[in-house]
Symmetry: C2
Subunit: 353 residues, 2 copies
């Protein structure tokens, strides 16, 4: 329990929730622990929907010991892999349709996806680490079980240590294993997944901004027109790609997404129309190479990265395992919390005290 | 997930909650399982706040094999024990202050508590099993860690099987161990406890009516004047006790309690002013001698009992272990659910469709 007295300037249906959460739920800092028993892990973290960093689990991974850009290029060579290409590094995010006009219509924008030889990714990363920051951002973030689908040549470099531990704890099989590789410009915007997530950092640092599911009422999740980065250049070669955001027309659709960036200043978020973000409970944590973040199901997360300039990779690299979440009490209560936001406007509008 | 289509005749902030709960939370029947591993137990039941009956855990208890009224009388003899005495069998419950006038003020009524020799309890139970049902109900239900405080002579009859299993699963020590002994007239009214509860039935049958914590909005919990059964007879001897309900005056206070009996007919509950009980999700289960009910923290329960006429005890006997609940996500969401009921009246009143 916190010693700080809780102050909530609002007085509404969520005030008590914030107060109780402050006392019993919100983490003020991330815990780092050595491998616990599966029971301790489930009881203290999974059942409590509480993030934790587990250290020491990757020590025997060949990936952790040996992966470098040269090693990976040598193994993967011309294997085709999917990359997400954007101008701004934000692959799935709400942004102004006209990148130069912050006041233009806000859309949910998907990246330009392309299959390239792995070698080309390495080449691009070398080039963009030398050049100015306005170059295209390439992010290997294909989440459809990508490790097994596109990176099976690397499978032997990954020890069963995390899988075995997680399978025992969750009592189920892996749903998907994903391979992530990207440079500092690439950021995943705030979102949540219906998965228990074991996120293993192999190179560099992943910077997670974490918000508990109870912050949902303060995140302005709503529908935005679906759009994509489209290549309007003369061909798909790296040097000729020119991306422009266009509304998807076939079919036209709206995508529900969170438009708020919790790492923005409150002042900017207020300007954008998101003052309630001040009631949310973000913490930003750094997960270093060799560490595993347990990211609980439904936990909101924004993910940035910082490659290690002294390491042998210009990218940050991670492997993550998704396990199906339990659709039980936490899911049901979260749905209820979502539902209450629909009634907010019916509840007497109280001004800030 | 249920195949039955969910029908909610209401249309309010709790409709979606009931629907999601129906699909993902509500148990339609109790599961009976053999002893699971501590991890399975925690993952599938405790973390999901889901009741379950575990069989086979009491097989080596001397209590289960040997306790009879004669055996207990012989061991306990004239040890003084606390009994709760009432006219109607309801020791802590909301009832009309004038027992003969259902329309008189409803109060929260505590039992007349008395220390008697254990032998006297046995004598009373023999007498009352022969006589008419209007006799006083004696219920051994003193919950202040009573097994260790008043029944330490019986401690050796209780094997560590349940304690060891539960300690491992909950990762904590026992908070209290209670001894329960009573006849069919005694009933505990609907309530919830902030404990994980391992409820071990040694003789007879305990009949639990269970409602999940999400039913809180339909249970009309509110404050009632505190009252007690007071002995207005000439002395405290069994045959002279005459109980009358009187408001507590020193000090006067109000007690928050649930006034609804979920085993009453809906018609009667509507007459009493509790129509919303129809939205709740009660199930009634029988826990037989030799079985252990895991009763999750905050789960609402009403408890009745049925002694086994062919066994060697006229009472139903049980031992229960309380472990502190985790004050985490389930607690916080439950507090939020409670809070929303305060705003119910502010939300546009919709009539039933």
């Amino acid at each position: 329990m916190s010693d700080d007295e809780f102050i909530d300037e609002y007085d509404d249906i969520y005030s008590k929730l914030c107060q109780e959460a402050q006392d019993f739920l919100i983490i003020k800092d991330i815990e780092r622990i050595e491998k616990p028993t599966a029971l301790e892990f489930y009881r203290e973290y999974v059942s409590q929907n509480k993030p934790v960093i587990i250290t020491g689990l990757l020590e025997n991974w060949k990936a952790y010991k040996e992966w470098s850009d040269d090693y990976l290029e040598n193994v993967m060579k011309d294997v085709e892999v999917t990359v997400s290409i954007t101008n701004d590094g934000l692959a799935d995010a709400v942004k102004p349709i006209n990148e130069n006009d912050p006041k233009s219509e806000r859309v949910f924008c998907k990246p330009f996806e392309k299959k390239i030889k792995f070698q080309e990714y390495i080449k691009h990363s070398k080039k963009s680490s030398k050049e100015n920051k306005n170059k295209l951002a390439y992010y290997i973030q294909y989440q459809n079980n990508s490790l097994n689908v596109e990176y099976d040549k690397l499978l032997n470099d990954i020890d069963e240590s995390v899988i075995d531990f997680a399978k025992e704890a969750f009592g189920s099989n892996i749903d998907a294993t994903n391979f992530w590789m990207g440079q500092d410009k690439s950021v995943s915007s705030l979102h949540q997944d219906p998965y228990e997530n074991m996120y293993c950092v192999v190179r560099g640092t992943k910077i997670f901004t974490l918000l508990p599911p109870i912050d949902y009422p303060f995140l302005y999740k709503s529908e935005f027109p679906s759009a994509s980065f489209v290549n309007v250049g003369c061909d798909d070669n790296d040097e000729n790609i020119k991306l422009e955001i266009q509304i998807d027309n076939d079919p036209k659709m709206n995508i529900p997404w969170i438009p708020v960036d919790p790492t923005e200043t409150l002042e900017n978020n207020i300007k954008l129309g998101y003052p309630l973000i001040e009631r949310a409970h973000p913490i930003t944590i750094r997960v270093e190479a060799g560490e595993v973040l347990y990211l609980p199901s439904l936990y909101f997360h924004r993910v940035a990265q910082e490659s290690n300039k002294t390491s042998n990779s210009l990218s940050t690299i991670a492997i993550n395992y998704w396990f199906d979440m339990k659709y039980g009490i936490n899911y049901v209560y979260f749905q209820f919390l979502k539902e209450t936001t629909k009634y907010q406007k019916q509840i007497k509008n109280k001004n800030k005290k």
